[in-house]
Structure formats: C-alpha cells, structure tokens
Symmetry: C2
Subunit: 436 residues, 2 copies
Amino acid sequence: MPQFLSTRDADFDRAFTALLGMKREDSPDVDAAVAAIIADVRDRGDAAVIELTSRFDRLDLTPETMAFSAEEIAAEIAKVPAEDRAALELAAERIRAYHARQMPEDASWTDAAGATLGWRWTPVSAAGLYVPGGLASYPSSVLMNAIPAKVAGVERLAIACPTPGGTVNPLVLLAASLSGVDVVYRIGGAQAIAALAYGTQTVAPVDKITGPGNAFVAAAKRRVFGKVGIDMIAGPSEILVIADADNDPDWIALDLLSQAEHDESAQSILITTDAAFGQAVAEAVTARLRTLERRAIAARSWEDFGAIIVARDLSEAAALSNRVAPEHLELCVADPDALAARITHAGAIFLGAWTPEAIGDYVGGPNHVLPTARSARFSSGLSVMDFLKRTTLARMTPEALAAIGPAAERLAISESLEAHGLSVRARLDRLNRSAG
Amino acid sequence: MPQFLSTRDADFDRAFTALLGMKREDSPDVDAAVAAIIADVRDRGDAAVIELTSRFDRLDLTPETMAFSAEEIAAEIAKVPAEDRAALELAAERIRAYHARQMPEDASWTDAAGATLGWRWTPVSAAGLYVPGGLASYPSSVLMNAIPAKVAGVERLAIACPTPGGTVNPLVLLAASLSGVDVVYRIGGAQAIAALAYGTQTVAPVDKITGPGNAFVAAAKRRVFGKVGIDMIAGPSEILVIADADNDPDWIALDLLSQAEHDESAQSILITTDAAFGQAVAEAVTARLRTLERRAIAARSWEDFGAIIVARDLSEAAALSNRVAPEHLELCVADPDALAARITHAGAIFLGAWTPEAIGDYVGGPNHVLPTARSARFSSGLSVMDFLKRTTLARMTPEALAAIGPAAERLAISESLEAHGLSVRARLDRLNRSAG
C-alpha cells in the first residue's frame, strides 16, 4: 500500500518531508567505463564505434551501414499501420503548432543616451537526438525532441538510436521522418554520445545533444557537456494530482497509474480535500492493478513511492504541491484556473478532469520532456529555446560614449583593469581633441 | 609574439584549427576534496562552514557573524567615493533597463480542436550568487548577476563572498545593496556552495546558484547541479575583433589587451582585411605592454594565445569568426550592421569602433556573463530567463478530448503504455455513453 497521510496528522510534516526526500533512483556508477568509451571513440573514431556496437548491441556495422539509408527508412515506414501513422501525424502537427508560438522575438532600441541596444536569436547549427532502443524506444519522444529543434531552425538534426540485434521500431523512423530529421544512426550508448559530440569519420559532430537514455548515456552526456550543450538529465517520471471529491475515482486512479507504469522508480501522488475520495481512489488503483499489462512495474512504483494526502482545503493542497514542484500536475477541481494561479513550481499543468496527463504525452501540443526530481523549482521543459541562443548587441555613437564612457572608465579603474579603462579613455580623448 | 596568420597561407586551415583547439585552461583536479567538503557541510552545517572558513580564509566566524549586519554594510558603503557610487548607480540603472526588456510574456490560446493551451513564467524563489574574494571581487559582476535575478522576481537573493582575513571590497557591498540583495554571507569556496545548495542552521537553501569562482567553486557547482540549478561554468575570457584598415591601431590594441589583462589564459584575436593594419596593431600592443599595470598577465596571454589573422574580405572574416564562436565580438568596420547579419555564433556583439568591449563590461546594459570556450555555438549569456521557469498549460473540453483523445490512445497502445491509453479511454467512454 502507498502512504496515506493527512495534513491533520501530528507528524505530517516529518512524513511529507521524508516523502520529498525519498531517493528513488539508484544509478550504477558507470563513470569510469564511460570515460574509457569516450576516449576510445575520440581516439579511433568509427573503428571504436563499430567495435562497441558489435559488443553491446550484437550488430555488425560498417561505416556505410552506420546510418539508415533512405530506402531502408522507406521500407520500415511502409510497415506502419495507417491508423498509427495518422495518430503520429496529428501529434506532430499539434506539437509543431504549439512550439512555433515559442519562437522569441529579436529586439533593438535606442535609449536616451543614444546607445542602440538589443539582441538577436540564432539557432544551434547541428543537434543530435538520442533515442533509446528496445522497449523505451518511444516515437512520441522523437517528435518532442526533434520538432522544437526544427522549429528553432536547426540545420542538421541527427538521431542516434541503438538497434539491438538489428531490431528497430518503424514508428521511430516514421516520427524522425515526420519531424524532418536528416540522418538516423544505428548506434547507442556512451559511444553514440561520444560520436555525436566529437565526430568520427562517418558521424559529423553536433553542437547540442538532447534526449533520454540509460545510465551510460546520462553519464556520457554529463561528460561531454561543455564541448556540446545538453538538455537536462531526466530522472524517473512523476505525477501529482489535486482532486476534489467531485471526480470519478477510476479516472484519477488511471492517471496515477499512467506514471507508475513507466518505471518502478516513478512517483504518483494524490492530494485531495476528501478522505473518503482518497480511499476510493486507492481502491480503484488496486482494482486496476489486477489486470494492467505493466502491473508488476506499476504496483512496485505505487507501493514504494505512491502517496495519498488529505489536505484541509485547496489552498493547503497548492502549498504542498509547490513544495513537491512536480513534473506533471493535474488539477481536477471545479475551478482549475483559480487553483493554477496558486501554483508556483510545476513542469506542466493539466487543467480539469477532462485533461488526463496522457494527452500531454502525445497530442496536447506542449512538450513532454519536463523537469523531474523537484527541478521544476529552477528549470523548464524542453522548448525551442533549447535550440536557440541569444547574441546581445550594443552600438555606441560618439555622443553615447561621451555620456556613459566615463562611468565605465571609473569602474574599470576601481577593479584594477587598466586596459579596460584605457580602451574607453583613448576614444574619449579623441572626442575631446575634436571638440577642442 | 602572437601568431600572425593569413588565410592565403598554404597551411592556414591547420593552423586555425590548432588555434581553435588550444587548451587554455588546466584546472587542478579538486573533485575529491570538494566532495568531502560538501559532505561535511551537509553533515555538520554551520560548524563545518565555520571551521572551513577559519582554515581557508583565516577568519573566525560565529553563526551570528556569518552574514554582514545592516550596520556593517552601511559602514562599508560609506567608504565608497561619490564618483564610484555614481558610476555604479549608472551601471545598475542601465543594466536594469536592459534586462527589464527581456521579461517574457505568458501565453494562452484556444485552438481549432477546442483545446486551451499556453504557458506561464514564474521566478525561481531563492537564488544564491557567488562573488569571489580578493582581487577578482568585481562589483560589476554583482550587478550583472543580481539585477537579472531581481528583475525576474526572485524573492530571496543571497550572496556568498569570502573575506580573507576579514577584508571586503566596499564596492561589492554597495553593488549588492543597489541590486536589492537580501543577505551577504562572509563565506566562500566549496563550503559556501554547499551551504547555499543544502542549507545550514544559518544559511537558508536556495534553488539556483550563479556567479564565477575558482576551481573549488566550479567543481562544487557541478556537484550540486540537479539539487539546485546553476549557471554556466565560465572559462577564461575571450575577444575577437574584426577590423578594417580604417581604424586607430591603438584603440584595437587596447581592446585586445582588455581581455588579455584578465587572465594569462585569456585569448584575444584580431581578424583584419589588411596585413599592414594587422602589423600596426601588433606594434601598438607591444607599445602598450611596456607600461600596462597588468603587463605580466596580458603579455603572457597575448604571446601564448593571441593571434592576428589576415582575411581576404569581411565575408571570410565572418566565416572564421563563426568557427570561433567568440564570447565578445567587436565589429570595427564601416557597416557593422551588415557584418553582424553574417554572424551566427557570438555571445555579445559590439558594433562599430565607438563601442569598445569594456563598455559592455560595465555600463552598456547587456550582461557581461557570456558563453566562453566556443560555447556560444549552443548557449547564451546570463539573462532574466536564468531566473525564470516556464510551466506549460493545457485544458481540454470534452469535445477537444473527443477530437484528439483517440490519437493519444492509439499512440499509447503502440508504446505499450496501457494505463496511458486507458486514462483517455475511460473519459471517451463516458462521452459515448452520454451521447448514446
């Protein structure tokens, strides 16, 4: 059974703090192995990647077969049932429309001193997207990573996706094709991250790497950070549902289970204002767990990390949710907008009982790559901003320099940076001579 | 002497690639020491911080004296000469005005399917700013880190600044005060980062840590990343100047030296279309190096990492600059806007010869915390965005769910995530029953 807490309990705060502090992930320490793999790929390029792929993925590649050919992709895509293709196309279209609205504006203005200031956004030139192989090879994640990159204007977008024993998910290739991905490599693990970051004879280096992966991939991303940009290192998925008594317990149970089924380390929390409703949801979860395909995983997650919390009112519920800073937050209450206004930290909010979190995983439009492990306190989900960078712009006229240059010179002197001051002074002296 | 290259040289590409790949920084490996310090601070809190401050900074603190009191701050600030205060106030005002324009807009819209989508920006609740002690204790960096945080709406902003032997720079305290910083701790090193990230009895934990520091600080920031957000790990400063022959060689020499004087590992590169002008700049640098206060540092940087490159034309110069992706880029040419349009990767651009880079360090308005070591290919300077996070919003009506829900269900099934599909199906079934 998951924890059943009430904010009226004498030791609630201790129990809630313990819930927040639970260590859900126990990553193996693969850092030394990953360092060796990266060094090998930097040193030997293709030869190292091919050897490691043979060893880890039981797949013998050559430089020529490292990437899928256009014909191979077309043949795989042809296997996709029409209904799956239509669903993926709808998802791609909606994700594209949402992310297109995120494109930020350039700016330029001239201020009272006569300085023209502003900034300009430009896309990352090339990005690499890691897609896990096997069971966690999700076409929806391909869309969620690739479409923002293409909307941002990334010129070259490469996917690395291991194909253990040669097996690939045709839907992954279709999602890549719908997103405008330029090349899909049959490589994975730390060797794929190293190849994308440093390049090999066959794999052109990229500037930014995104996408989920196992412990080896995560450790490799940490190691190449700095050489290239990376997205966040995602932890296990989480959902927090705030629900009043006016909900179908089965709907809420399914929403909780839709995170729990991801991973034994996932966490699902219900906060409700009604103890009897909380009990009904617990029973609905138990009932659903009897038949769910992934019941072994979901039950483990729910029993180890699940919680039902009874709060005095919605205001208290919002405050608790803000301490959790959940990745996904469902507000199944009469006035979800009013409750959302009280939320200060959450990756994504799903408003009202007609918005199950699963809609956001696929077709809602917003990104499903979201901050986990309480990092919504300081970070955001994936967006076009992750594939753009801002260059600031400044242009002084002689008059503007005359107005603000002396202050710069003064501060440079106070910081003992003489050349800084002189670079301003030399110009001011010219102005003074011209004026004199 | 620095390198003197021409794009017409037979081996130019090799030499330029070597210039790009130069390892300028040789950070000592302090990771094990830092791990021990962080563990000690997590374990013993204030006691550990006080002990480490006594050992490293020769300063005996108590929990009561760990932060400057209001009276102490007022007494230090009173020492600042009026002209320095006025310069710092001008800088603060201009930085505030620039960053206020960066505040992003919330968004909300309803699409054709009837789904209401959008996002909302909220500030990080509490941020910590690291300010080095001693010579590199720059008041301008306090403004550049603290003002964006306060513009973003950060409620609680703490500074950690070591005061070796008790010495503090009054301008740092004035800058903190002008920026609205809430508390200034007399602590530094990895112990300060650990205290800000995990909290102690006296230091309240923050959600995000920014600011420059030595190898211990950088290693500590890497280690606490995930528990809190961090800004970039900055490398040594860089400038690239593109200048035509129509410039005063002394101005350009001073601009190159204003990076070189920061650090022996700094890098200054001139790209010019005129070999004679390049030679004249080299001579001007040599002349200035005779008398510059920080000539030992600047000469080391210029000789080891400096370069003058003669390009065939400005178009070639822009292409070379894009390969460098410089932190600071000066465009000292007749039409800097036209040249800027060809620049795809740069942290900050300074347009025209009347805009020395030093203006941007202090009073221009844009931030001086900028991506180094070619990371402008994938990242941006510090901004209000670093202290904000985006929560995505989605709200379905029953009709919207009927329109797009079946596609979500289909994709969930294709990914073998049954509960995801059922959470949508249970709601669609209700709709069908109501309609039937």
